[in-house]
Amino acid sequence: MPISVSTGRAIVAALLLATGLLGCDSPPSEAPSEGANLAPSDAAPKRFGTTIIASRELGTLATRVGEEQFAGVMCSTCHTLDIDKTPAEYPGELEDFHTGMKFTHGTLTCNSCHNPDDRNTLRAANGKVVEFADTMELCGQCHGPKLRDYHRGAHGGMNGYWDLDQGPRTRNNCVNCHDPHAPVFPKMMPAPPPRDRFFGGPNNH
């Protein structure tokens, strides 16, 4: 039975209204997890822990003491001496010491990280004194998203167990991979490619 135009319009309008009402979802009950927490919150504690291992002696300068030998020298060994000289502000101003190092960490000044009052420690942007052993906190003040990713397992790798209920895990300190003065991950030669069964050497396709 044919429908009149006005009835048809009314039906279409009613259908659209019904679809609109049904299509509205209730607002999501969980807040987005991004940026919310550094570690998973209400998880049952795991049987094994995570250990962060620094690959080098933090807070000392490796100084040659023999032909092939190096010793770690505390910064205060030299930096408590009373020397009448303006301290360098930028790495480019260094004249006598620390000149052999590479500095590619942007336009940071030395005192962006190093504590001018106590050279055995570091200093955060708000003036808080940070020990060298806690250097990851200092890196994280600028590289917050990376530190968050690190704590959630998406950066920095790990060795050991994915399941901390079955075994422990060790993780890297930031400076294991990133030299704070030249942080770009170093280039390397890769492991060899697969070899052709008959001709040796890489395949040619």
Partner: protein
């Protein structure tokens, strides 16, 4: 007068005629060709024992039969390779579904993962085989035809990014569908496995896999005894024989006991993230929920469990 005289047929020659010589030579050559043609069959009986021939499918083995099979395989390895190994039947854990993610912003293409796989899974040394192939891709494109898996220069090179590809442990695996003898199947923790003794080596699965994750053993793997990884499992890294298929198993002899796969432990940049996707606090779940992830060849509907992501 007739000049046609009766000619008697020549007397039959005794002794060796040319015809006899040709027959003899032909018969000898024929016999030699026949012997050469069936020579592989004599080797076959040497390599296959009766027990191996009569062994049942993995899913049909009782625990006692499985132990017998494992001891037999250990004895064979000791005899053929001179190494004492321990092969276990490692079963999947409950409540676990493995996921693996790879950070393309961070991978530098050093191939340490491929090298670790090569050593962990007892691959043939002469071909430097590995389940992982690392592609050097042009930045800005995901065109695999421009990808190169055989680069041999300092990495990372400018203008390139690196994409390791291994078995994606698909949820809808084409390799499982095409196997004519059901030698490969998907286990409940997500890993697609192969019963190497049941596989007939037809390579249909290799043809079906869109990622070239499945490899064929063209020859018996050659590994020096001191380089063999003695911690082995029936379905993963025990030494395969000539003529069977093999593939990445997410190191199930390690991961089913909670350890990281060998490729993840070896990665120096931390580009790999592995874990149980059913655990809401796991690292892999964080990546899947917060990063820009994609899968390879999504349009084929294989539903991989291997994800790629960028950091930014």
């Amino acid at each position: 007068m007739s000049y046609i005289t009766q000619v008697n047929p020549p007397p039959k020659k005794s002794g060796v005629t040319r015809r006899t010589v040709l027959k003899g030579v032909g018969a000898t050559l024929g016999a030699a060709a026949f012997a050469k043609a069936i020579a592989p069959m004599t080797e076959l009986t040497r390599e296959t024992s009766v027990d191996e021939f009569l062994q049942k499918h993995y899913k049909e083995l009782t625990p006692e039969a499985m132990q017998k099979v494992l001891r037999r395989l250990e004895a064979e390895t000791a005899e053929q390779y001179g190494a004492q190994v321990h092969i276990e039947d490692v079963r999947p854990q409950d409540g676990v579904k493995f996921g693996y993610a790879l950070n393309l912003s961070v991978c530098i293409g050093c191939r340490k993962c491929a090298e670790a796989c090569h050593e962990e899974n007892n691959h043939d040394r002469s071909t430097n085989n590995s389940y992982i192939r690392v592609f050097e891709m042009e930045q800005g494109s995901i065109d695999f035809e421009k990808g190169n898996a055989n680069y041999d220069h300092e990495v990372p090179a400018d203008g390139k990014y690196y994409m390791p590809v291994q078995c994606q442990q698909c949820d809808n695996p084409p390799c499982v569908k095409v196997c004519p003898v059901e030698a490969t199947w998907k286990e409940k923790d997500g890993i697609v496995v192969i019963d190497y003794n049941w596989c007939i080596g037809c390579r249909y699965c290799e043809a079906a896999c869109p990622y070239h994750a499945r490899r064929f053993n063209w020859k018996k793997p050659e590994i020096p005894a001191d380089e063999i990884n003695p911690v082995q499992a029936y379905l993963s890294n025990r030494i395969r024989q000539k003529g069977t298929m093999e593939k990445c198993t997410y190191c199930l002899h390690r991961t089913r006991k909670g350890k990281n796969p060998a490729c993840l432990d070896a990665c120096p940049t931390g580009a790999r993230v592995f874990g149980n996707m059913l655990d809401p606090d796991s690292e892999i779940r964080y990546v899947l929920e917060n990063k820009r992830i994609f899968v390879l060849k999504q349009d084929l509907g294989t539903v991989p469990s291997f994800f790629y992501f960028f950091d930014n």
